[in-house]
Structures are given as C-alpha cells and as structure tokens.
C-alpha cells in the first residue's frame, strides 16, 4: 500500500475523532506511519456487527414485553454478552442463568441475585425489573 492510497473513508462510527495508524510506503519505497480515518470494508463489517447486535436486542425486547423471556436475556444482548460471559459475571453456572431467563423463575429471584445482575449490566435494580 502506498502512502497516498491509505484510505480515508470516514463515517459516523469513528465519530470523527478517532484515527488509526497504518503502515504504508512513501515514494522512495520506505515504510512510514500514516493516519487513516477508516476504510470502507472495515466500516461495512463493523456496521454489520452492530446491526446484528441491534437486531438481537430488538428481538429480545419484544419477547420480554410479551412475557416469554425475562429482562436478563434482554440485558445480556444489550451488553453484548453471551451466556458464558454473563454466568461468569454473576458467578453462576450457565444453566442457572438460562433458568433465570424464564419470567416465572426471574420473578422469584432474591434481591441479592437481582443486584448481582444489575451490577453485571451496570444498571439499577429498578431498570433491571422494568426495561425501557
């Protein structure tokens, strides 16, 4: 890649503030560091990853509102976590966390357990019980 080929495809994902270093060759063939504002394929891939996240969050929200899953499942998606990571944060086995995703089980969780979930998601217990 030549110095003047370093892509500057900025988009809102970078929020205009963030420039990363790329290595490219100058006219005499020597490597130099050049700042890049972003590149189309990277932007596409990142946008796609976020679309996937947002779709999962939206789908989970609908299921919580229709009473099919508990807010634990919704906040897990919202925090980009998977079952293993969430179980690790709250100090439970994965099957236990899975159980807590059932609304009937979630309703009976102790205050202490709810607080642990709230801490893992960095939200208040109030927000955990009532998703926005």
């Amino acid at each position: 890649m030549k110095k003047d080929e370093v892509p500057q495809d900025s988009d809102n994902l970078h929020e205009g503030t963030f420039k990363q270093i790329m290595y490219a060759v100058d006219n005499s063939g020597n490597y130099v560091q050049v700042q890049s504002a972003g590149w189309e394929p990277e932007n596409i891939a990142l946008t796609q990853a976020w679309e996937e996240v947002n779709e999962k969050v939206a789908a989970a929200k609908v299921l919580v509102q229709s009473g099919e899953i508990s807010p634990v499942a919704y906040y897990m998606e919202k925090n980009l976590m998977d079952l293993a990571l969430l179980a690790n944060y709250v100090g439970k086995f994965q099957w236990q966390v899975k159980r807590h995703m059932k609304p009937a089980v979630f309703k009976r969780l102790s205050d202490k357990m709810l607080q642990r979930y709230a801490d893992a998601f960095k939200i208040s217990k109030e927000d955990l019980l009532h998703i926005k």
Binding site: M1, V6, L13, H14, E15, T17, F18, K19, Q20, I21, M22, Y23, A24, V25, G29, N30, Y31, Q33, Q35, S36, W39, E40, P41, E42, I44, A45, L46, Q48, A49, W50, E52, L80, M81, D82, A84, L85, N88, Y89, K122
Partner: protein, 332 residues
C-alpha cells in the same frame, strides 16, 4: 529514577506499541515494527471451533502476551508482572507503583474504556495501555492506539482491568525493573525471524500458518451452502475486522512486519531483507484486495456461490504469496 515525562507515541497495535513506549521511556529506543518483529508477532490461524459470539475466530497475529514475553527475553529486559485476586488490591498496587513515577502497562477490556468511540467497544479483553500518572483522582493514560494521551476515572479503569471472560485480565500489570541501556538487535532479529518462519510454515496442523490460510479458503468457499446467507456475511465480516480493524496497521499486520524487515535490512546490512519487505508488501496488497471484495460481498448480502468462490480463490493467492515469501525468508 525515571521522573521525566512519559512520551506518548501513537502506534498501530496495542501490544507492540506499549512495548515500544515503555522501553523507550527507560532509555531503550525500539520502534513498533522492531518490537513486533523481534517478538515474532506475525501469524495466521483460523479456528472454526473457537467461536466469539457464534462466529469462528481468525487471527493474523500471535496470541496476546507472546510478543511481550519474547521481546523481553531476547533483549534482556526484566519485567515485574502481577495479577490480582480483587480490584481493591489491584488498584492499590497500581497506585503504589505509579506514585513512584514509574509508568505501568495494564491489560484491559476495551468494552469498559470510555475514551473509545462506542462503536469500537466490544468485549475484547486483551487490550494493552499505559498508566503513567494520577492527577485529581483521574488516571493519566497513554493508550498506544489513540493519537494523544487521555484520562480515565478509577471506576472505569477497575472495571476494564477486572473484566470477566476469556482471557480474564485479572488486573494484570507490568513494568520494567531492568532495561539494558544498550542492546544489540542483531541476534534478537534473527531469532525473531527464525521463529516466525517456523510458525508460518512448520506447524503440523491445518489451521495454522500458511496452511491455515488455505484452510480458511476452503471454508469460505462453502459458507453459503453450510451456514446460509446471513451467517456467511457475518463470518466474512469478522475476517475483515480481524484483518483491518484498529491495531493491525493494515493487511493484518503484514505491513508492520514489512516495515520491520526494512528496518532490519539496514541494521544487519542485508539488502535482501529490504527486497523481501517489498514482496511482503505485495502480499499485503493481496490481502487488502481480498478485504475490499469481501466487504462488497458483505454489503450486497447476496450469498451466491460465485462470489464466495472468488473470495476463496483470492485467499489461495494470499497463501501462495506468503508461502513463497516465508520460504525465502527462512533461508536468510
């Protein structure tokens, strides 16, 4: 003893950048590509069974921490490293070292670093940064991938250092206790190159090195049939991100490594290394072409077999170029 101001230099990759910045602070000047090369950082692996959010893992670099260990060992740098059982202990130890004026390297999770743009904050637990001071209860941070120094509040830093998941950073911190004033790079460069060639050419499993690229090429070809349109695009997107997203310097570290070879050519007085650097740049350009086409396929979301087959062929070209390159490099 090292009370002079910490000098922040922006780099492409966090691990080799922190090494370069930390050792530079202690008087051992080493560029980012040089650290990356001596640490034998360039690699390739495709691990379909290691899934991150359901997407098979691909990497263009050696596993986190390896570059660090190798550079320290090869240059005779002694590092003090520590992990902690609780955030309280970890933060207290950090305060103690920082108050003596020693910059400290930390392992952290990108997800909890507020100074990154939100779109980059995924649960990636192997990010390196340097804390070089504390002022008004804010930590002064030199994050090598940022263009300037920044600050972070203690609560966020504690969360980032003690994030859970794989690998769990467990508050890992490190700082040099002995840095040789002058180090000859000649032997470390040769050892780094030899190790790299071994890793790229000789690992007897299909997922690693040049074989790994061909392995990925075969998988990509069958993505549409095997996992369907939607997942195919996600899988491709992940390959692009591993190759080009923050930290690789372009083309999945291929350009950084070429810069290392160029620098080594001068130090060792071996012009053939410089010619090989040009060859690797061309291989890197092939990777960039692949990413560009893969991006277009992702965007169109049309999982026709033809486009995936073409991408697969591009990967096979990358593999061929790298095989020729590393075989030549191994002979030097």
């Amino acid at each position: 003893m090292n009370n002079h101001q910490f000098h922040h230099t922006q780099t492409a990759h966090c691990e080799s950048g922190v090494i370069s910045n930390l050792l530079g602070h202690h008087g051992l000047k080493i560029s980012e590509p040089m650290a990356f090369g001596i640490g034998a950082g360039i690699f390739f692996a495709h691990l379909p069974f290691v899934k991150v959010n359901g997407v098979p893992g691909t990497t263009y670099r050696i596993w986190p921490g390896a570059i660090f260990q190798r550079v320290c060992k090869r240059l005779g740098v002694r590092m003090e490293t520590a992990k902690f059982s609780s955030p309280e202990k970890g933060m207290a130890a950090l305060d103690h070292v920082v108050s003596s004026g020693t910059p400290v390297g930390l392992l952290s999770s990108v997800y909890y670093l507020p100074y990154f743009p939100p779109s980059y904050r995924f649960h990636f637990n192997a990010h390196n940064l340097v804390v070089y001071g504390k002022r008004d209860d804010q930590y002064l941070v030199s994050d090598p991938v940022m263009d300037t120094v920044t600050e972070i509040d203690p609560a966020s830093l504690a969360q980032a250092r003690f994030a859970k998941g794989f690998p769990a950073p467990k508050g890992k911190m490190y700082y040099p206790v002995h840095v040789p004033g002058k180090a000859s790079f000649e032997k470390p460069i040769k050892e780094g190159i030899a190790q790299t060639c071994h890793y790229m050419l000789k690992i007897p499993f299909p997922m690693f090195g040049v074989k790994g690229i061909r392995f990925l090429a075969n998988r990509v070809k069958n993505y549409p049939e095997k996992v369907g349109e939607r997942k195919s695009a996600l899988y491709l997107g992940n390959i692009i991100r591993m190759q080009e997203e923050i930290g690789t310097g372009g083309a999945g570290f291929r350009f950084v490594y070429a810069a290392f070879l160029q620098e080594s050519a001068v130090l060792l007085n071996k012009p053939e290394l410089s010619r090989l650097a040009t060859e690797l740049t061309q291989a890197g350009d092939l990777w960039r072409n692949f990413a560009f086409s893969a991006g277009r396929v992702c965007k169109s979301r049309s999982a026709d077999n033809v486009s995936y087959k073409e991408l697969s062929e591009m990967l096979i070209q990358c593999a061929a170029a790298e095989e020729t390159f590393f075989k030549k490099l191994a002979k030097i």
